[in-house]
């Protein structure tokens, strides 16, 4: 079966609620069939609006949305055949689990036997067999969430939308549900559009992530690339932790540039800087800077420890380095650990390829 790479297509979509501010600006996004794509962004970045437009609860102010090649902007939600999992589950409180799951099948006039079979299958998929007669209020949060997922999948929709579905769960449950949803997606191959503001959720679950900010997609790529190679300082800041230096390009090469900071110079990887004299923000992941590096690294500095915070699996060290006291280091906790003490001086080194010179903040 050939997968359609443009199964869902946002074509130059604009959305404004009040005629003054654009919530979504000129959105161009293709989603492949069977893909798990996450829309990630801070609140108010337009990601939920995009989801609502795809579901049919909001209409685009301009542009078209296509599903499998057909324009769906004028099709009402109930005819789109798109499953949806809501933030607060939106289970029908007056119906049993069975009735909740049977609802989309009953409105489609599916035979009774067929309904039983499908409900059974969907419930076993979320490992809730035997819960048919329970009311939603008799279920725990995680169970309710699984019912909501099963309900969105039971009528075999082509696309399933999930609007921050794990937001109300506690941390451990959230993590196990992330894997569960991921496995369900892998086993049935449905296209999933997932909205969240939790970056770790996005990184663990998705095939691709679209980072939203200010109504625009800032970067669309797979999780590894998004984390390792952010294209601008917003993405670098939003995804994972990040040490930044603000400075000016004084020398630029093909894959190396020299950045002048307040009172020192560092080498960095030129990503969005093109020429000398440009202002830039250099981004460096905390785990890429090493203490007392054994290998030769092209950035070597000495800093003073300001704070040591124990995190269980790792220790966070805040340093005063290159005139900034906000430099963070992540040190894995192992038996051969160094004695880290406040106001101790240590040597730090990193490779210029990991220090990405991005647009200025």
């Amino acid at each position: 079966m050939s997968k359609n790479p443009e199964f869902v297509k946002f074509d130059k979509v604009d959305k404004s609620y009040d005629g003054k501010v654009l919530v979504v600006k000129d959105l161009q996004l293709d989603i492949a069939e069977g893909e798990f794509i996450t829309m990630l962004g801070p609140s108010g970045s337009g990601k939920t609006t995009c989801l609502m437009m795809l579901a049919g609860f909001e209409t685009p102010t301009h542009g078209e949305i296509l599903l499998d090649g057909n324009i769906i902007s004028n099709i009402p939600p109930h005819k789109r055949g798109i499953g949806m999992v809501f933030q607060n589950y939106a289970l029908f409180p007056h119906m049993t689990v069975y009735e909740n799951l049977a609802f989309p099948l009953r409105v489609r006039k599916v035979e009774k036997d067929e309904i039983d079979k499908k409900v059974d299958k969907a419930l076993s998929m979320v490992s809730l067999s035997g819960f048919e007669t329970r009311m939603p209020t008799q279920l725990s949060g995680g169970q309710q969430q699984r019912v909501a997922v099963a309900r969105a999948l039971v009528f075999d929709p082509a696309v399933v939308l999930m609007d921050e579905p794990l937001g109300a769960l506690d941390k451990n449950l959230r993590e196990s549900m992330q894997y569960e949803i991921k496995h369900i997606h892998e086993s049935i191959g449905v296209t999933v559009v997932y909205v969240t503001h939790d970056q770790s959720e996005a990184l663990t679950m998705s095939n691709r992530i679209a980072v939203f900010n200010d109504g625009k997609v800032q970067q669309l790529s797979n999780p590894a690339e998004l984390y390792e190679k952010p294209v601008n300082s917003f993405v670098a800041e939003f995804i994972g932790e990040n040490n930044t230096f603000n400075g000016e390009v004084v020398d630029i090469d093909k894959d190396k540039c020299k950045i002048k900071l307040a009172n020192s110079e560092i080498l960095a990887n030129p990503i969005s800087v093109k020429s000398k004299g440009e202002k830039t923000t250099v981004s460096l992941r905390p785990e890429r800077a090493l203490i007392n590096p054994t290998d030769k690294m092209d950035n070597m500095f000495t800093g003073k420890i300001e704070e040591v915070i124990y995190h269980g699996d790792h220790t966070r060290v805040r340093l005063n380095l290159l005139g900034s006291s906000e430099f963070i280091l992540k040190v894995p906790n192992s038996t051969s650990n160094l004695e880290l003490k406040v106001s101790q001086d240590i040597n730090i080194g990193w490779n210029s390829t990991d220090a990405r010179a991005l647009d200025p903040k």
Binding site: F57, P77, H78, M84, F86, N88, F92, P93
Partner: protein, 421 residues
Amino acid sequence: MSSETKQILTTDGIPLEVSLKKAEKKNKIRAFLLVAPLLLFLAITYIFPIGEMFMRSVDDRMVTNMLPKTFKAMEKWENLEELPSEEVYRAFYEDYKLLVENQQHGKLGQRLNKEKNGFNTITKKLFRQIKRKKIDESASLKEQINKIHKRWRNVEFWQAIKRTAPPYTAAKYLKGMDMYLAADGSIAQVDEDRRIHRILWLRTLEIAFFVTLFCFFMGYPIAHLLATLPMKYSNLLMICVLLPFWTSLLVRTASWMILLQQQGIVNDFFVMIGLVADDNRPEMMYNKVGTYVAMTQILLPFMVLPLYSVMKTISPSLMRAGKSLGGTPFVAFWKVYFPLTIPGIGAGCLLVFILAIGYYITPALVGGASGTLISNQIAFHMKTTLDWSFASAMGLMLLTGVLVIYWIYNKLVGVDNIKLG
């Protein structure tokens, strides 16, 4: 005692239950003291008057106390189709004479007249004969009394006296349902042309039912709007709903009178747009139409508010879920939204219906002859005929009716499903 049911003891050896009770006793007393004023208030203003009303509605001791000898003599009166014996006549004469001396005879006449029309006339005649000392107590009193008026020779009047013998009577309740206790003790219907109360009961139920229905159909969309509109609009709408609430009932009814009368604004408007001819203006007041319109408007907030409070708690994502799962907007509404509003519908309907069933001022002012309800009849007996025991009986029947409706409702919907806010 088996080991399983062994009492749990606290550390100082007192059974846990006893200890718990002791610990909570203070709180219980405090809680009781807090509700005590209300309890007292309810007892004085509600339970006691209702008890008093009930006593009044069944109390028939007046005649029993006035004619003790008569009733004693009547115990031996067996063939009720024939006039009683001389003994009864004599006993009645003696009782009546005593009443005349105490100037209590008028009350008896009035009371007996309620039992049988025309009684007042013949007791007055008897009174005059006694006053003029025309009755010879040594001769047959039966003959002398029978001569005073032909009605004394009518056995029905004597039967009427006998019917008043028991100290308690359900006669007022029967009267409220257009029935009476016949001479032989059976329950009979009054003549068809005099069955006024049953019409009123049915009309009260009918109007209360339809007012509830109108309120529901008008209130449901309003409540839905209120619950879903953005705050700044919904506040305004809420004030519009509540504004009539803050206006005096009398003022609102009066404004409906201005609107609905034949030369009123609504009729003027109909004439203006050519809906009706100027010389053929429809009567919209002093009949059922007026009662319906005014009562629906006045009771509407009682429907809107419970509905609103329930709808406010229904998450809008439920309707969206219904639609996204493939339900048309109607299916989503009917299968998802509507069932969730049932507690509000129950509360609103019950509230409006119970209020409507006892409504008084509005039907009295705009109802006319065909739009008055049972409470107007109760008021009539309270204020005009001064038959308080009958008014009490009808009031209690109304109360019982409401309780029965509440009971049926509880069986059908369940009272725990009511949500007032």
